[in-house]
Amino acid sequence: MRPAALVRREARREAVRFALFWGAPSLVWQSLFFLVPMGFLVAMTFWSVRNFRLTPDFTLANWKFVLGASFFHSAYLYTLELSLLTSAAASIIAFPSAYALAFAVSARLRGLFVSMLLVPFFTSYPVRIYALEIILSPKGVINRTLADVGLAPIHLIGTPTATVIGYLTLALPVVVLLQTLALAGVDRTLVEAAHNLHCSRVRTIASVVLPSARTGLTVSAAFAFVLTFGDYIAPLYLGGSKPPTLSILIADQVKSGNNWPRASVVAVTMIVTLAAALAVMLGLAYRNPKGRS
């Protein structure tokens, strides 16, 4: 063989080695420690627990038990309802603030507020929920203030309202952030054109701003839904687990019930629900606008 060909072949081999060296780590790690555990979770739903021992099996008993249990039905509907409610509430509450940050402040100030909104994401969520627990408690700031002005106290801890308040602390920073970015991307000339045509402010928002920012707004609502649907802390510490959500069911089955297959069934139904919800929401977000008219 000619040396030039040999050199070329060696170089090609080296290039393959190089590509594999950088390409393999992510593939290997995420397959081994993400895909396999997730697959294992699905397999686990068909296992059985005999004499408190986990046994590989192929039984539909766990699925039948969980899907037929009334406690699961109520937890499922309750979790879905609260997450959808929070997603809608967060979107509505966030919108005026995102609108202000996108249109009424300088780019510099907007940057500052946007980095501020990243802070909650990195400040221990359980600690923030604990702080809310204190703020909302019968002796907390809110009820003290109410008592000072002579109003009756409100009992929030242990109610779904408190859970939604907790969900909002989780979802609002993300929703305000994403909405601000979405609105800041709206073409200003379109808004000005609407004004020049004597379009009222509400009408401008409804027919220019909202349609242009639709993708970002829908994605932010989807984020709120995903974040709150899987949350365990707020419904436990603020809602008092009355009634439990799906994540509380999972934790209870694992930690006290010691029934991992049933916990896996609940987890898989959550994944399926989230995937379906995301498919619907992203479908709405990226739907071709021409399809409407």
Partner: protein
């Protein structure tokens, strides 16, 4: 005119309320960590550092803090390596199945941590990884690597794609180009990725809660404390945790911002 001013004022007032709502728990935690009263409530009972003293001398909290540092450090090293490798592959190569490859690399943070936690628990229990720091690290890398990938990928987007082939044409090997061109260019982003991954790991409570067993990390310890009575020590330990995470994220942001200003300068020179 008055209508316009009123509308602006209302918008800003609403924004203020939203921000107060978002930040009230953080401000309340830090404020009451310095309050000497047992129950965190107004009126203010006097400045005190006793809860910090109680936290810093408690051996269980100190032990869990050490565990958290070990986990966050090891996670950040591995996640930064994997993140860089993935970002480079995305930058350099086109291949069949790349979409799937990148989706797999980005997917883990979209799965609720409670589900990841159960999946990791059932899997790691089989491998005898359950209840070890290694088990937590393995799971945290899965979660943190995508953040590292994103930060490095953003940096590589600023690298002229012809620079590497230029180095090859001048006779540099693939490895030499990597160490002489790519890695120096990404140095700040790699540090940013390291701090970001460390911050995500340091704050992660749910997966660690499932798989840690007796080797509690600090957030898991805090969860246990929350299950007990109201204790002002939680405010002190919470404030410390806020401090560590925010420092890490601030470092990451600072390093990423330097990247942006460098890019600005280059833009002006051209």
């Amino acid at each position: 005119m008055i209508g316009a001013i009123g509308r602006r004022a209302a918008l800003f007032a609403w924004t203020g309320v939203v921000f107060v709502f978002i930040f009230a728990p953080i401000i309340s935690t830090i404020t009451f960590s310095f309050n000497s009263a047992r129950f965190p409530s107004l009126p203010w009972a006097g400045f005190s550092l006793k809860w910090y003293a109680a936290v810093l001398t408690g051996t269980t909290i100190r032990g869990s803090f050490t565990n958290s540092l070990v986990v966050a450090g090891a996670t950040a090293v591995i996640a930064t390596f994997i993140g860089f490798a993935t970002a480079y592959v995305d930058y350099r190569y086109r291949f069949t199945g790349k979409t799937v490859y990148m989706a797999l690399a980005a997917l883990p943070p979209t799965v609720p941590v409670v589900i990841l936690g159960v999946a990791m628990l059932t899997f790691e229990a089989r491998l005898d990884l359950y209840g070890s720091l290694t088990g937590i690290i393995v799971a945290h890398v899965v979660l943190c690597a995508p953040f590292a990938t994103a930060l490095v990928r953003m940096r590589l987007a600023d690298l002229d794609p012809d620079l590497e082939p230029a180095a090859w044409n001048l006779g540099a090997t693939l490895w030499r180009t990597m160490s002489g061109v790519i890695l120096p260019f990404c140095a700040a982003a790699l540090l940013a990725a390291f701090f970001m991954a460390a911050a995500v790991s340091f704050d992660e409570f749910m997966i660690a809660w499932f798989v840690s067993g007796t080797h509690e990390t600090l957030p898991v310890r805090i969860l246990d404390m929350l299950q007990g009575q109201v204790s002002p020590r939680i405010n002190a330990v919470g404030s410390l945790v806020f401090g560590v995470s925010i420092t890490l994220v601030a470092l990451a942001q600072l390093l990423s911002a330097r990247r942006a200003s460098n890019a600005d300068r280059r833009g002006r020179d051209e």
